[in-house]
């Protein structure tokens, strides 16, 4: 444990810490950010009204759109001379969301990422290869600072250049890999296709901290089997800080949230009501210590649930269930809610199929049409047409039973679907263009 005092703190004590920090954070936001002042005033809320953690429920939400509208620095709560770093989302679906960090914010970020690495069994003895992208994206630098904080040896290779990744894993004795789960599978694919001489099991690689996109248990076992590593889910979002919001421990039964810095609530995405512990809904974040960009009740759109059960790792921090869907990504197909992660789970379950897929949603004659394109690799390819047809039929049938809608399944050649070394493009919704 990197910081036992906070990670294993008695819950009642933790509540005190949270309340004290929450009062500071809410007041800090109100005093220094015009958006929060207007929003709180409009709701008739004053920061002094926070007497208990539950009083936070009276505070209005911060929406993704509010962040976009504030582009670039509208939500900054400190003067620019205090801001030492800026990160930003890619802004592919509108204005980018921008996050600033003070020196203290960077310090907290390094701390929570160091805790994350320790959570996955890492220490100063590890060689951490950071294959998240470096730059405006928070993944690379976030993992980098955390690994340095814990005293590990950092290999700041950034994303891409798979041959070089493999070479350094071998030559530098990398023990921990940090990248997106889809890139990890990409690497395993590359080895299978082009490097029969390369064996991950003959390297020192033993663990991976994978995040920045939702992934399934099936993907975990796929990565673990093919790369011979233990795969940990790490979670974060640039609006809140970046990676380091929560992570899995050796128990792998949910992700511990670093609650002394981030307060979490689960709400019903429809009504906005806070749901009791254990119920599934949208996660809402409130930063407790951030200076440059405090977030108060930020609606993440990520779907999860919270539970505080004793953990074998000794941490008392609340756990959130692995995020497997976003309310944003949710597709409504003929009135049925479909998450891309469900489709992915079906593909993983059908023998040997890797998650190189794309979902295309279209509307024909006022009816939604869903097509799942699956790349055919050598493990599922057969010279017999009937075997290929059976594969497509099996995927189609499982989709129908899991999703409750019928999808067209199209087998396509490798490398025909958009793929990136960062986040994968999974859904193309053509209905939006009409």
């Amino acid at each position: 444990m990197f910081n036992k005092e906070y990670e294993a703190m008695q819950v009642s004590k933790l509540r005190e810490v949270q309340l004290e920090r929450l009062r500071w954070s809410v007041k800090h936001a109100y005093d220094n950010v015009p958006f929060y002042r207007q929003s709180f005033d409009a709701a008739g809320f004053k920061p002094e009204q926070i007497q208990s953690l539950d009083d936070l429920r009276r505070v209005p939400f911060l929406m993704k759109q509010n962040m976009r509208d504030a582009y670039p620095f509208g939500l900054f709560a400190v003067p620019m001379e205090k801001v030492v770093r800026i990160h930003s989302s890619s802004g592919t679906t509108g204005n980018a969301t921008v996050a600033g960090y003070t020196r203290n914010d960077i310090d907290i970020w390094a701390e929570v990422m160091a805790r994350t690495i320790a959570c996955a069994g890492g220490s100063s003895k590890d060689v951490v290869q950071v294959a998240y992208g470096y730059g405006l994206f928070t993944g690379g630098l976030g993992a980098h600072y955390g690994a340095e904080r814990i005293g590990a040896t950092v290999v700041p290779i950034s994303g891409g250049n798979t041959e070089r990744q493999l070479m350094l894993i071998k030559d530098f004795g990398t023990t921990m890999l940090a990248c997106t789960p889809s890139y990890a599978i990409n690497m395993a694919d590359h080895v299978e296709r082009n490097r029969p001489d390369y064996d991950f099991r003959k390297t020192k690689l033993r663990a991976g901290i994978f995040g920045a996109e939702p992934w399934t248990e099936q993907m975990r076992s796929e990565i673990e089997t093919r790369m011979g590593v233990e795969a940990f889910d790490i979670y974060g979002l640039s609006e809140v800080i970046g990676p380091g919001v929560s992570c899995e421990c050796s128990a792998k039964s949910g992700l511990h949230v670093f609650e002394d810095h981030f307060y979490v609530e689960i709400i019903d995405p429809e009504s906005g009501e806070v749901l009791p512990e254990g119920e599934k809904g949208e996660i809402v974040y409130t930063s407790l210590t951030k200076e440059a960009c405090p977030v108060i009740r930020y609606r993440s759109r990520d779907i999860s649930r919270l539970y505080r059960t004793p953990c074998s790792c000794g941490r008392t921090l609340v756990k959130m269930e692995k995020v497997t869907g976003r309310s944003d990504d949710m597709l409504i197909i003929r009135g049925v809610n479909v998450f891309p992660s469900q489709i992915e789970a079906v593909l993983m379950e059908v023998e040997g199929t890797e998650p190189h897929y794309q979902i295309i949603v279209d509307r024909k004659d006022a009816l939604d049409d869903i097509e799942v394109m699956v790349e055919v690799n050598e493990r599922i390819f057969s010279d017999e047409l009937k075997v290929m047809n059976q594969l497509a039929a099996r995927i189609k049938q499982r989709m129908q039973s899991v999703l409750g809608v019928s999808a067209k399944v199209t087998l396509v050649e490798p490398r025909t679907l958009a793929r990136s070394e960062g986040k994968a493009v999974r859904v193309i919704d053509r209905r939006k263009l009409k």
């Binding site: 082009n194 055919v376 390819f381 010279d383 017999e384 047409l385 290929m388 087998l411 490398r415």
Partner: protein, 143 residues
Amino acid sequence: MNITQLSLFLENKPGRLQSALKVLAGKNINIRTLTIAEVTDFGIVRMIVNNPDEAARALRENHFTCSTTEVLAIEISDEPGQLEKALEAFSRHKLNIEYMYAFTEKRNDRAVMIFRFDDIEAAKKALAGEGYKIVKKIDIIGE
């Protein structure tokens, strides 16, 4: 005795077969015979080439999905009823043919057919007993 067939997955779109063949041409691969099984969206190209390993390697390098399968090349007299007679022998031995296609050249005035059996070893045994000549790899690929 077995012949190595190269099988290739292609989408049913203009230019796909051509781009695969271009890869093979670039490696000086000679195609001895070729057949395509297709459905609406995709097809499986099956071919006999002079160097299947080299061909598969080149295709994989260019991100095509392909595999190699063992098939049998059998000489059959080029006369009415001879193919039927061969099939009658196969069915008597309960040999299931997954698919078959013809070789483009004749050998000693006889036709050469490529057969993909689900059990190639059982097929070889039965065919030898029936007096059919299984063409050797060396004769087919001409090396």
